[in-house]
Symmetry: C2
Subunit: 315 residues, 2 copies
DNA sequence: ATCCTCAATATTATCGGTAACAAATTATTC
DNA sequence: GAATAATTTGTTACCGATAATATTGAGGAT
């Protein structure tokens, strides 16, 4: 392994100059800088992160804290982890998976938190290290998420374009920010078209949505599309309609949200919002590392939603 | 953060003595050792891994090299990674995901390799850092795997106990060690019972197994059980039998192998071997870290298979 | 020419450990 | 009981980087 000193010798400067070329290039004359760059190239120099970490008193560990229950059959967290790990590995950081319980065991340089709820706010505010939240929030924490509002807005728009005349929103019975945003997207679309909003909320289980359809089958007129807040609910609606003898997509439309795994099981596949969780995970990592380096607020990083066409809307 | 020096002061010894208590406790008198332990406890001392890494010229990075294509919807690799990461995090190592292509970018302390084939042997032999293979092999590399032979042996035994009178083995058309072992398990069971072995091999796709059933439906007598080398093949067999009007499990039995995700989609669920990939991943990590510390061969670590009962065998 | 700035570069100390060597203590031998 | 060997503990140097401080040298003012 070539070190600073090797480069310094080759360039005929002190090792401090080499260090400065890397960390404060503006404080070195161009002439020397060129010499140093040249030497670094010739020796294929890569800084030793461990030495850096030692003097910076850093750990090169990032903790990923998942506050909700993990369903390992959902590739959601797999993708999130892959995305985060990709970035962290690139910078030679190590990812540590923690829960709220073992959160405080061992040091780290920063946190990525997902599944945050209102009750976690105080706790997060008191953390001493940089934090990035995966999932939108309204408490001013830096976060990365899909544009939830735009997602339902676009799906509702698409449903209307396909000729469905009534839009029923099927939401998740929860006070989380993403749910409000998804409702807001639906509402905005419906209001722009001067339609009657119809909202229902359930726990995020397919059978609850299915029951809803069966219980209200008589009131569900043909040419209705259901804008659902999750694929899970959408699958329940789809099943309910099919069991009641309704025809998808001819007489009824269904849209979901999330579309990672569940969609593979549904038939026909749900028209839904496809989130690039891997990419978003990477972004979480990048944001957090930036924040650690510069100590600067990162703000919100919002990914624009992409519609994944299934067979639950016409055409 | 308390350091060696803090502990040394408190215990009234030199920091070298503290270091020795940690790394070479046999070279320190019990008396001093007790003093030092006491001080460490009182100050809640945890060694700084980064400093350790610097002086040991280690990177605290382990590369996980997956040589086959990753299907992110299969929780297989997710679980493997979770298992490995769990162990590595505990020891403050960082996991880096690499492919054969970007394998040489950046340093590391050791490798975990999965999906190894014959053609990779020379390459692995030439690696300069400790290696543990995930998946059995016959080239003397340290590895972690399920006892593949015992798996099919047990499933075949179970099928016979349930009264199926003919056992057909449906294997994967590949020269990999695990496949030979699974065949061997079936063969041993069949030979012990002095039955005629019947082996078939296909690429690992459900539709190939399904076609096989349809093409040979006339020759497939009632009361036959299919011992398959993978869940994927088992699902194909299951579908083939059902489509041909056969009754599972009354007239036909099916067993699989692996049972991570696919099994959730099958109906009825396949009776298969359940592998605790997470645990095996942890074991890979432990083995590798041991190997890095002690430089000693770890040998093979074989997990005994557990049968996961589905609905594809009688009773 | 002398003194003073200010910028560019070099030197030194430090992060928290460990190995190699030196010193001190104890045990063994004749 | 002195000489020597063996064991235990302490000192020093070093791993590879960076911050703080010291040094050098060029240009400006007097």
């Amino acid at each position: 392994m070539t070190t600073l000193v090797d480069v310094a010798k080759k360039a005929n400067v002190s090792k401090m100059t080499v260090s400065r070329v890397i960390n404060h290039p503006d404080k070195v004359t161009d002439e020397l800088k060129q010499l140093v760059y040249q030497a670094m190239r010739e020796l294929d120099y890569h800084p030793n992160m461990i030495a850096k970490a030692l003097v910076n008193k850093s750990t090169r560990i990032i903790k990923l804290c998942i506050l909700e229950d993990i369903d390992t059959t959902e590739p959601y967290y797999m993708n999130l982890m892959i995305g985060i790990a990709k970035t962290l590995d690139l910078h030679q950081y190590s990812l540590q998976l923690v829960t709220r319980k073992n959160f405080d065991i061992g040091n780290c340089d920063g946190y990525i938190i997902t599944g945050m709820r209102e009750q976690d706010v105080d706790w997060i505010n008191n953390l001493k290290k940089p934090v990035v939240i995966f999932g939108e929030n309204r408490y001013g924490f830096d976060y990365v998420d899909t544009n939830n509002k735009a997602g339902t807005y676009l799906l509702a728009q698409l449903a209307l374009e396909k000729g469905y005349e009534r839009l029923i929103y099927v939401g998740i019975d929860s006070k989380e920010s993403f749910e409000y945003s998804r409702e807001a997207g639906y509402l905005q679309q419906v209001q722009e078209k001067r339609m009657m909003p119809e909202l229902h909320r359930f726990g995020n289980h397919s059978h609850l949505a299915e029951e809803f359809v069966r219980d209200n089958w008589d009131d569900i007129t043909k040419n209705t599309a259901f804008i659902c807040a999750s694929d899970r609910l959408a699958i329940g609606i789809e099943r309910g309609i099919t069991r009641c003898g309704g025809k998808i997509p001819d007489d009824f439309g269904v849209t979901g949200f999330d579309g990672v795994f569940l969609n593979q099981v549904a038939s026909p596949k749900i028209t839904t919002i496809k989130q690039s969780i891997i990419e978003m995970g990477s972004a979480c990592g990048e944001n957090l590392l930036d924040k650690i380096d510069t100590n600067a607020k990162q703000g919100a990083l919002v990914f624009e939603p992409k519609i994944s066409l299934g067979g639950t809307l016409r055409e």
